[in-house]
């Protein structure tokens, strides 16, 4: 794995961020067809034969070091962004074990886990971490076990307790949230925390998704893609800080939209945790600007069609309304009307300029 990290990237203030050609080509483009509507788009994760971001439990890419630094900054400013209810202690250790095992297995050059009974030694070379600790004894780690390990993975995570025929969001870390608040949502049921999402409830999407999720088994993770848009490569679009990033939405122009508007994709993954029987959700966020994505001709055409025909309620929920007209007008130049192949994979092996 010859990933070259870009430790100088920033996700606030001067926004120094960009995707390499490799990163663009492996971007989890969320639109498999030219139109978008909510559906139960769950499927098995890390199935043999999967490639790119779908091949590993927890993807580590070129932004890893910079993103971990950004998330540490968010937690330093607001420690409450990581919050786990006391009955989820076992799930914290489950999460630590799962992420350590996965990273060590998928990226043996970067991460190592050595176990001698309950005495574990963890090495994270990209972040320069080397710790020996006792599994199950939180006093041997510098942070609580869940926070300790999620600080070393990209994206956010939530912990769900399964009881009373539903899932309760009883913990998590929300440093890079797409406008949802863990502090506010903690303790809600699956249907409650998804309450604000338009249209999907009527279609029964959440009922079926919940049934599916409650049956996710250990060793058989699942995933889905979700998306929204963000102005600037800003990871922390929390409702807490909405007064800071809200004005960005009114700031786009025809000249800046290609570089400054980012498609924000969440690779959501679902893991059954063995000791606690809890369910871990990974919410791994990928950002790519319109100008990066439209270097893939198929994606340029498709983005235009999806945004042009998007249901207004979905556009409103995702916060696109204020600049949608500008967006569609900008994307029109990439759509020559040619048909697009089904599926999300790029239609080119290398990028045009």
């Amino acid at each position: 794995m010859a990933t070259r990290f870009k430790p100088d990237e920033t996700f606030r203030d001067d926004f120094r961020y960009g995707n390499s050609e490799t990163a663009i080509l492996r971007f989890p483009f969320p639109f498999g067809e030219d139109a978008y509507m909510y559906g139960v788009n769950m499927e098995p994760h890390t199935r043999p034969g999967s490639a790119g971001v779908f091949a590993v439990g927890f993807d580590v890419d070129e932004h890893y070091v910079a993103e971990c630094a950004e998330r540490a900054k968010v937690l330093a400013l607001e420690p409450g962004r990581c919050l786990v209810l006391p009955h989820m202690r076992e799930a914290e250790w489950d999460t630590l074990e799962l992420i350590m095992e996965s990273l060590a297995a998928d990226y043996p050059d970067q991460f190592t886990l050595e176990r001698d009974g309950l005495d574990w030694t963890w090495t994270n070379r990209p972040l320069g971490i080397h710790h020996t600790f006792r599994f199950g004894d939180a006093t041997t780690l510098p942070h609580p076990p869940f926070e300790y390990i999620v600080r070393q993975a990209q994206g956010d995570f939530t912990l769900q307790d399964q009881r009373d025929g539903t899932l309760y969001i009883d913990g998590g870390v929300a440093t890079v949230p797409a406008d949802w608040s863990l502090a506010f949502d903690v303790g809600m049921t699956f249907h409650e925390w998804h309450g604000p999402v338009p249209l999907a409830h009527q279609a029964g999407v959440f009922d079926r998704a919940l049934q599916y999720l409650m049956r996710v088994r250990y060793g058989h993770p699942a995933r889905r893609l979700n998306w929204t848009m963000t102005i600037n490569p800003r990871l922390d679009t929390s409702p807490e800080n909405y007064p800071l990033w809200g004005p960005d939405r009114a700031s786009l122009t025809a000249e800046t939209i290609g570089d400054r508007l980012f498609l924000r994709v969440e690779l959501q993954s679902f893991f059954r945790l063995p000791r606690s029987n809890a369910l871990l959700f990974g919410i791994r966020t990928y950002l790519a600007s319109l100008n990066e994505l439209t270097r893939v001709p198929k994606w340029g055409r498709r983005l235009h069609r999806v945004m042009r025909d998007l249901h207004p309620d979905i556009a409103e929920y995702k916060g696109l309304t204020r600049y949608r007209e500008l967006l569609v007008a900008y994307l029109a130049q990439f759509d020559d009307g040619a048909p697009t192949a089904p599926g999300i994979t790029p239609d080119c092996a290398a990028l045009s300029d």
């Binding site: 043999p48 297995a105 009974g117 009881r163 088994r217 060793g219 029987n277």
Partner: protein
């Protein structure tokens, strides 16, 4: 371990601990770590069938599960064994290799319980042993009541000896436990967990409901009743007919006919094996379909359910 669907286990030890009860220790055949498991979890073993040909898949609760020291089961020899428990009792020996599923949990401790009341009958003690170990660890309030036949009181007392304490009680026969009085005395926020013969678990459920316990506070383990009257299964889409024997499940019969159909818990709880019914009257024995869905008669869980009609036609 993450993506493994099947574990290859080796028998480390198998000892008769009482007439008809065998304790089996399993480890990973390659010496690697095994997946951890929550108390209440079970694994499904692939065991040679009685006829020596078709393997049987039996689910057993994990009495203990440790990634390094392995899994522990206690298996009772069933009176009408289809071959699974008979094999474990008569043939299984240290060094034998067995395929198993990764642990799966359909009988979990409730995280919000103020107190856990455990009621076991006979070999139904197995998940409760795992529960007690966990509850002792966390210090959560609990009470265990184990019902044993008069001649087995000593067996269960010995099993519980390492976990003895004032919360642990053994009763000789069901009549020696005043279940309504026990349930009526429980503080608000108690959850009851029962495992054992279906009659006992039904009794606990009915007594709790009669005292106003909400069903969400009543938990039971059940891998489904095994056996019943034989019937004929017609698979409409595959255009074949299969005889389901009295000691065979519908799912086993379908698999034996070479039809690949998804399944998971094989205990009527997870819903994975659900199949559409075209004709006939299913005898539902699962805990997955709602009353309304049962009344419609459109689906059946072939892992545990059977047929009231001599012929059941499925849309597969």
């Amino acid at each position: 371990m993450m993506d493994n669907h099947t574990l290859t286990l080796v028998v480390a030890d198998a000892a008769l601990i009482a007439p008809g009860l065998r304790r089996v220790h399993l480890r990973a055949a390659d010496g690697a770590r095994l997946p951890p498991a929550a108390p209440g979890a079970h694994i499904t073993l692939s065991l040679p069938g009685a006829d020596g040909a078709r393997p049987l898949r039996n689910s057993y609760t994990l009495v203990s599960a440790d990634p390094e020291h392995g899994y522990e089961l206690i298996v009772r020899r069933a009176d009408r064994s289809r071959g699974g428990s008979r094999h474990i009792h008569e043939a299984l020996a240290p060094g034998d290799v067995i395929d198993a599923t990764v642990p799966h949990n359909l009988f979990a401790l409730h995280s919000q319980a103020k107190k856990h009341l455990l009621i076991g009958g006979g070999i139904g003690i197995t998940p409760l042993l795992a529960f007690v170990a966990r509850l002792r660890e966390t210090g959560a309030p609990f009470e265990l009541h184990q019902i044993a036949s008069a001649d087995e009181i000593g067996v269960f007392a010995a099993l519980l000896a390492p976990r003895a304490g004032e919360q642990v009680h053994i009763h000789g026969g069901r009549t020696s436990l005043d279940l309504p009085a026990l349930l009526a005395a429980q503080p608000l926020g108690t959850h009851v967990y029962t495992c054992g013969p279906a009659g006992l678990m039904d009794h606990v459920e009915a007594a709790a409901a009669g005292l106003g316990w909400p069903s969400s506070h009543v938990h039971r383990e059940d891998f489904g009743a095994a056996g019943g009257e034989p019937f004929v299964l017609r698979l409409a889409a595959s255009d074949i007919e299969i005889a389901v024997a009295g000691d065979q499940t519908m799912l086993e019969a379908i698999e034996a006919a070479g039809i690949d159909t998804p399944s998971l818990c094989r205990g009527g709880a997870c819903g994975v094996c659900i199949l559409p019914v075209r004709q006939g009257e299913p005898e539902h024995r699962d805990h997955f379909l709602s009353e309304a869905e049962r009344a419609q008669g459109c689906h059946v869980m072939p892992c545990v359910s059977r047929s009231r009609s001599a012929l059941l036609v499925l849309d597969i």
